[in-house]
Subunit: 538 residues, 2 copies
């Protein structure tokens, strides 16, 4: 018998409601001088949800937010679902043209805009007006130092519902109803709009607590942008554990060290750029840590040099892997205690693997994308990395065709190319689109990049295939050197020759800044175009 | 779009399948000289499931197990669901007549019977035969020292499926399908048969990991009988975390201390009888602990004396509360860090509260059972404790009427009487049926028992109402003294008078052993009958 006594649709809203009781007077959020308790955060989210409903927001509407990791962005993770609506966080790195395209796609009824990004929003609105696309209502998150604002501001919304005790939080009818939309970073194409469900968000939150061994009342530093998979679902997970969210408008090495020292941060996350920021801070930029800090990283394997530097400083790195379509991390390089005894290099090699599925993900496999057979579990045979489980997206928003394509064969096809080791751990070798096929051999660009990156003068590197009449393609490296360092093309090639089989060594080396996506990933398709252009010149 | 890529019915089977990869070579179970790894446990459960299917077990059939906390009982927690069937663990403390009644109720197709309990099973079968009730097939779990057995034995089942690579694990069609049947302890009536679902078991397992702050790879000592709510769902939770299950056929103080010392136990649980066993072990029975041990207790608030003794020894006690109908613990006395600074007595008072709902339980409330209004949150107003959430039972097996009654008003009615404090923590005062109404005043028998128990000579105490012509009822205490201690009726009454309001002091004091249910709880209904008989004599 299924009834209200024994069946409640899973939703992260339950986390906040429970924390308002269990962790009532504990600090929920810190941002500069601002402090809230869980009771206050719950109350503010309720009020905001009430104000949204008064403005006509109803079940299934989209509400967008263009803002960095500030308290308002955090609160909208609960307030929007509590109004029955779908949250869409927008990337502050986009320009007005891209913003207009994304807004046209998801058609939010309301968009919250941080004052720093008002120009981008207005620019997007202008473009949309010209194309006669209906505009969302704009609600400003104002500069706290600016006392007057002509647009409805965030705080006035909160104020108007102050005594609204009657408001009933809207809960999902079905736990598979959407809770948020997340755009992919657009490494290989324009951003795709991914739908998350209440069920997936709930289950992924619990998994992410368990995979980081997070106890109750953690202190979480927001170095992962909330726009990335809702901060890898930590926005909800921290509420579940009654933790403290430490927010930063801009992430800097100083901001990180100060936050860790002042608030006794226990957990944080970040792409390799964040790790580099910490390890390159230099003695003057560092502060001693009050305790060890668990850091989850993803996007690329952490480099051994960075790993050892950070471990020494007191950061414990866990390597995770996933995509926007898997709510952020879908696998984790689960650490086996006996590995602690291995030398640094062996440890780094093991930690570079993407690992095994977390508790909420049913299965990860490496398969032949045509036959759907698993490849040999020998760490050599390559195939496409595929996922299956409750923490895989519902689909692409209003795009049944792309959704069907992604789920062809009953698995989510990542487009990532990898291997599986005999122990069941996977290692991603490349995006399938990035793999270089040279003289019939597959070359992982990630492998070549790792070798180049290990050169002491190199700050970052991107490798792509360059068309070649004889071999089909040959490796072409783009790289940026560290400030005050120098290296020649020949030096880089010699360095690679000593460490890689001949066919994997770049035939072309170009020194220049790498083009990046809004989430900080290298735009390989832009590099490929450049590599092709080089050929045309030769 | 819901498909196999993004929707998998929640089931604890997933925990075992993942642990067979992630924790493959780690010890899953220890029992005397026996050791298994997670890979082996997974393989054994698969084989056993295959053997069950060959014997005609199919979706929805019941498979029972009459055995203590031995490896076989643990394995059946996975093997039976992996055959699509429903597990029913039977209490080894029942006699043949009760066993026959329970078997007739749940009608298992197969019953696994430990050699020590074969006589009880045969006795039950005889009774059932006489009543023409169909008998289940019996599979013996033999004495390892007895080489010949005429009944199909557990190990031969395992052996016959050794090379059965084709067997496909049966998974629930719907996550709300039943996974197990658990009988209530029968404190107030004959045992009721409670249905657990795959979904509830999955969610409660995750919650129980989080509420005990259990990291991955814990070492769990089985002092909670697996027959109690499938060991408070820890049977599944330990698989989720890749922990080590330390099994004991009989729980003794020596067994506990030896296990903790030899296997570095990190977690265990138990009713107050287990805590008493530890705290009464005496210096000779103790061994130094290799690390602190987290102990979850439930059934009754831990006594301050026991608490302080155990804390000193290295056991950290968490007080939880629940019923068979809530998969074991439904609330936990979540500890607030600032309480650490309070004196022992204040801490004990706080820890005696049953607390707040765990993460998997949606709501707990104290309500007027007629109006369904919440009582005042003042720690004084009494009402019925009620639950609502995904970790409330599906219902009573094949008993729609009792199920409807239990869920009347959309909440699960516990039949427990309690209060809610301003901070949202509940405290259970009594079973509603046990409350004594004397001269119009409600008397909590638990409160009176706690006072009597604090007397240094008292080993245990049970208080019930005794009919009284003037007052309706008066408190009547039954108690057992510690060996080598003495006390008179008058001494006990004086002791109570100094600590309780006059109307709560027992008017009658009886020295005798307390009648117990199969789960070790005092049979209050038996005491009430005795108390009534006293009146008839007077």
């Amino acid at each position: 018998m299924k009834c209200s006594a024994n069946y409640v649709p899973l939703t992260p809203i339950s986390f906040l409601e429970r924390s308002a009781i269990v962790y009532k007077d504990r600090i929920s959020l810190v941002y500069g001088d601002i402090n809230f308790t869980w009771k206050q955060t719950h109350e503010r989210c309720r009020r905001l949800a009430s104000a949204l409903c008064r403005r006509g927001i109803s079940r299934g509407d989209v509400v967008a937010c263009l803002a960095p990791n500030i308290p308002e962005t955090y609160e909208l993770h609960f307030a929007v679902p509590m109004a029955g609506a779908i949250l869409s966080i927008l990337n502050t790195h986009h320009d007005s043209a891209m913003m207009a395209a994304l807004l046209a796609r998801s058609q939010p009824k309301i968009v919250f805009v941080d004052y720093q990004f008002l120009d981008i929003a207005n620019g997007a609105f202008k473009i949309m007006s010209e194309k006669a696309i209906p505009l969302p209502r704009l609600i400003l998150i104002p500069d706290p130092h600016d006392s007057v604002s002509s647009v409805t501001a965030y705080d006035s919304l909160l104020a108007e519902s102050e005594n609204d005790d009657e408001f009933a939080v809207v809960r999902p009818d079905d736990e598979c109803d959407p809770i948020s939309l997340c755009y992919t970073s657009g490494t290989t194409s324009t951003p795709k709009c991914v739908v998350y469900s209440h069920r997936g968000a709930y289950l992924n939150s619990l998994s992410s607590i368990l995979l980081t061994e997070m106890k109750s009342m953690p202190v979480y530093l927001w170095t992962v942008p909330m726009v990335h998979c809702n901060g890898w679902c930590q926005a909800w997970a921290i509420a579940a554990q009654g933790g403290t969210n430490v927010c930063l408008r801009n992430v800097t090495a100083k901001g990180i060290f100060d936050s860790v020292a002042n608030h006794r941060v226990t957990h944080m996350g970040g792409a390799p750029t964040i790790l580099n920021m910490i390890s390159n801070a230099g003695a003057s930029g560092r502060r001693p840590l009050p305790g060890r800090v668990a850091v989850m990283t993803g996007g690329a394997p952490p480099h051994p040099r960075v790993l050892s530097e950070m471990e020494e400083q007191g950061f414990d790195i866990t390597h995770a892997y996933g995509l926007t379509e898997t709510y952020g991390p879908g696998t984790i390089c689960a650490w086996q205690p006996e590995w602690d005894a291995l030398p640094l290099e062996a440890r780094a090699k093991l930690r570079a693997r993407q690992g095994v599925q977390h508790l909420g993900m049913e299965e990860v496999d490496v398969k032949d994308p045509v036959t759907m057979q698993s490849v040999a579990r020998d760490g050599k045979a390559m195939g496409e990395v595929m996922f299956r489980g409750n923490t895989v997206m519902s689909g692409y928003y209003n795009d049944a065709k792309a959704t069907e394509e992604a789920f062809r064969g009953g698995w989510f096809r990542t487009g990532d190319w990898g291997v599986m080791y005999p122990d069941g751990y996977i290692e991603v070798k490349d995006r399938s689109i990035d793999i270089i096929v040279s003289g019939g051999e597959n070359i992982s660009t990630i492998e070549v990049e790792a070798v180049i990156f290990s050169h002491p003068a190199v700050f970052e590197a991107g490798v792509v295939g360059r068309p070649d009449e004889d071999l089909g393609e040959t490796p072409c490296a783009f790289l940026k050197l560290k400030e005050g360092h120098a290296a020649t093309e020949e030096e880089i090639m010699t360095y690679c020759r000593e460490r890689l089989p001949h066919y994997k060594v770049p035939r072309t080396v170009v020194f220049e800044d790498l083009p990046k996506t809004s989430t900080g990933k290298t735009q390989k398709y832009a590099l490929r175009a450049k590599a092709k252009a080089i050929k045309d010149l030769v």
